[in-house]
Symmetry: C2
Subunit: 336 residues, 2 copies
Amino acid sequence: MRVFWVVCGIAAALMASTVITSTAKAQDPLPSWRDDAPKKAIQSFVASVTRDGSPDYVAPADRIAVFDNDGTLWSEKPYYNQLAFALDRVKALSSEHPDWKTKEPFASILRGDTESLLSGDEKEIVGRLLDIIRATHAGMTEIAFNQIVLGWIENARHPETKRLYTQMVYQPMLELLAYLRANDFKTFIVSGGGVDFMRAWAEKVYGIPPEQIVGSRNKLKFELRGGRPSIFRLADVEFIDDKEGKPVGIMQHIGRRPIAAFGNSDGDLQMLQWTCLGRPLQTLCLYVHHTDDEREWAYDRDSAVGKLDRGLVAAKVNGWLLVDMKTQWKQVFPTP
Amino acid sequence: MRVFWVVCGIAAALMASTVITSTAKAQDPLPSWRDDAPKKAIQSFVASVTRDGSPDYVAPADRIAVFDNDGTLWSEKPYYNQLAFALDRVKALSSEHPDWKTKEPFASILRGDTESLLSGDEKEIVGRLLDIIRATHAGMTEIAFNQIVLGWIENARHPETKRLYTQMVYQPMLELLAYLRANDFKTFIVSGGGVDFMRAWAEKVYGIPPEQIVGSRNKLKFELRGGRPSIFRLADVEFIDDKEGKPVGIMQHIGRRPIAAFGNSDGDLQMLQWTCLGRPLQTLCLYVHHTDDEREWAYDRDSAVGKLDRGLVAAKVNGWLLVDMKTQWKQVFPTP
């Protein structure tokens, strides 16, 4: 009997090994990435932190990877997709707010003038966006808001490409998320966007569950009415998960330092600093550089949305990866 | 060759099945629970939400279980273990604060009078505890605080039992955590305790990683000094994860409604309401009732720490499980 099992075992082992090697050869985990510096650096990083006995080995529990969303996982031009959602909400709610016809920033929105929303300095822009968020993202329960977002994301289309917003995610980044998870990384979104806006659809689109999404937050209030509990969304924006807020959001929510961080703008700089600077272990920081004005958009230093200026300098100084979207991504969006 | 594989397959299948059935018979997932109503209810709940094709089936991603910590996963008498940590910190820091000798609540602590800390109404008690937290849980980096907590939890002993605090966790609850995880539940702590205090040791003790711990929070600040990033703990207590704060903390952090919640005090009431009231699906809510003055402590309505009054009524009205620690737990603490 023992001999019989040994024979089975050896035969099985032989079969398995052939299967493994052949599939390993066959499958490129990052097919939309050109065989170029960033792809090679990503793969050697993953190999060195996952290889048992490697001096850079990191236990699976500590393989935390954080991703910005707007401009890193999906497009953010001509303006943030969540702003497109908010503008549609302003139009839908305008009949209940006759005063909006003469009150900025709502009057401009109702006139169809979105450009003025993003004019002026950053402080002015953020102020306008917060006014719009307060007016459109509050005054209902969490469950109701979730339904509103789902109804929008399943039907709304991008003003220029006319594609569903969920079809304007980056194919190379979807591959990167899957590749990291296949190597026992836990993938998180850490975005300036509204956490509940993203949670409504991100699990389906990115495979990232609600509890692994960190974002900006409205204040919430628990109420029990007639034996039915609910969570109401209040107008105060309680936390803005951007710039210095990103490492704070990471420590509040995740409670440990990531070993890999991915962004595309100066709003991600502190998250990349927190992940990659002054540490004794191997880390990976990567900036997606929007250089492709044919397949997507080309912008950096002078853009009101997704400005990348200090980050470009930091990437050079610290040796972070800078992905040239135009030359280093074979494909930008998923094939419909 | 084909016949050879079939033979191997059948033999392997036979072996496997015997192994499975025998272990299934052999293993009781909740050996420290008496074969009584709560244990049976827990097991039938888990069976009904995990059985494929069951009308109550819940997908693994939605199997969220939330646990209070103090009094639910470990002891909280004669006062919260985190308060014992804070008192030790006050003593350790007193030389740097000569004014504490005459300033309350520090003067009482330095005199060894802890009872007065928990006298008066709840508002007075909370006020004192917040003063102590501000003085002992801030003014250092997150990393430094983590090291301070670890140094304490590995050596400090309970004032009455003289056991390590990590040996005063409840064996039946450790079994329950493991049993739920074995059934693809994701287990979270949702506690009024300080999130960073718990995160320092909870993964090792409960198998719950930092990112699955929700608690009260100090304000944090990101700084980059000489190219080295750090997160500083500020004195403001930014969020108190208790009572109405618990469902809010759940929605901020987890972003979906749990289907199972476990607590022991009125501070957990809203978390249990949010989990179990007004929903069309099967849920489980359980209160641990401290009735064992021999093996642990007996307290409920009149206790300053872990008061259970409104919760007792709610458990009765809503048919939540109430565990009589004295009669329904065979063992309270792990065998040393």
